[in-house]
Amino acid sequence: MNNAVELLTSTSEWQDIAPLLSVRELNKFYAPGKGCGDINFDLYPGEVLGIVGESGSGKSTLLSCLSARLTPDSGQVLYNSEQFGEMDLYAGEESQRRVLMRSEWGIVHQHARDGLRMNVSAGANIGERLMAVGERHYGDIRAKAEEWLTAVEIDTGRIDDRPSQFSGGMQQRLQIARNLVTHPKLIFMDEPTGGLDVSVQAKLLDLLRNLVSRLGLSVIIVTHDLAVARLLAHRLIVMRRGAVVETGLTDQVLDDPQHPYTQLLVSSILQN
């Protein structure tokens, strides 16, 4: 049973739940047709939202805009923060956005090298966020690092090894541990399984699914892999040429696609 459904059934007035993240009329174009535009959606607590579409459809641009890493040309990203309350991301201070990035948010990059410090040990990678939010006790930091290595199924004996000595799948899991250590509410993922072989992908997806439901995380996941979307996402946004062409529940979009492009996308998967 996923967390969003539990939340909804346990709350009688479920319409009153405030969205965690609301996107209003968001536009970001590098050149006409390059970027994303006219994006509107709400993300509710505990929800996993998938953004799918072909390469160059603006998925990653949108994710960067949502995660405070790229200032949009126009539009708003409203976020309901524990520390700052209801806030318009790009109207506020950059310092607040950076605090969010290392406390309430997690960002999992497609390439682990973008999200990890390759020249310091795995333990330091996990501990960095703790130290960034003020933890100053070495023993505690190390204990938490070990705890999270176990949670992402990395042998704790490798705590002092550098990420460059890890396999691709382990680097990706380390990246996840590094993000989850400060108990974020919202995780942004950009193709978390990109570049991994199929069995490692399956393991990582299984791990992600467990962590997401156990910790009640909200996730926005960008992927071009519909199998990943089906496995993780509750709701899907289909993008093409920088615009949203279809939205809906994952099963609904994948089993009964309405837009011609979505139909093409779904039919392009090899069926057995």
Binding site: R129, M131, V133
Partner: protein
Amino acid sequence: MSAATAIGYNFAYLDEQSKRMIRRAILKGVAIPGYQVPFGGREMPLPHGWGTGGMQVTASVIGEADKLKVIDQGADDTTNAVSIRRFFAHTAGVETTELTAEATLIQTRHRIPERPLQADQILIYQVPIPEPLRFIEPRESETRKMHALSEYGAMQVKLYEDVARFGHIATSYDYPVMVNNRYMMDPSPIPKFDNPKMSMMPALQLFGAGFEKRIYAVPPFTQVESLDFDDHPFEVQSWEDACSICGSDHSFLDEVIIDDNGSKMFVCSDTDYCRERVTEGFVGEAPAQLETEQ
């Protein structure tokens, strides 16, 4: 000005306009303790990395009445110290000294004198890499932002790595400090033994990085704290031996190999302090000579 002054050069080598520019950077640095102020670094007649940053600061603050002392790793008589001292004697005609107590300006490479400095003295450090965050973040745009927003958590990563690898904080020089509870600062490669001396020092401390073209400062009586962990507190080096010349057991000691058999002696790194103690009558124990093993 003394007769020995070089002809054809401005007082203390730099032209007045450059000195004014550097003084403005120094004033800004003093106003914002620990903040790295960019300045238009000038060419000095010796290579970068030999103390050009410190020399430019010295040239900008030195006056005819000043008495200059230059030390290199605590010693007055090493090449770097001797050349810089002679340079200013030659171009500014100022009096020079080896006595810490007498000097009004002290340019230093990698040590703070053992004798506590006074309010009428200025200590000028030669700095190779002014950015303490460089280890963890190679982008200058990012390190500036981290300073601006006081995001210093990443700095602890360096200490974490030390403890994880060696079981204690093994960084022994260039030990990062927090100035006035605001800016993270690189104290230049002084041993961490000297870190506590920086805090609440009555003398003005100026830092010049010639290669990176940065000036920063710690004004008198400013709090300077060394980073640490709650369960691994900051500690300075200590020695089991005492100085072989003056018997001091509380100063920073250099280990010197004295023969082919591996015999060694420990001597004060601060030559002036050692000499002063000897004139006061302190005597050290001669080092034990190892016998050649056949």
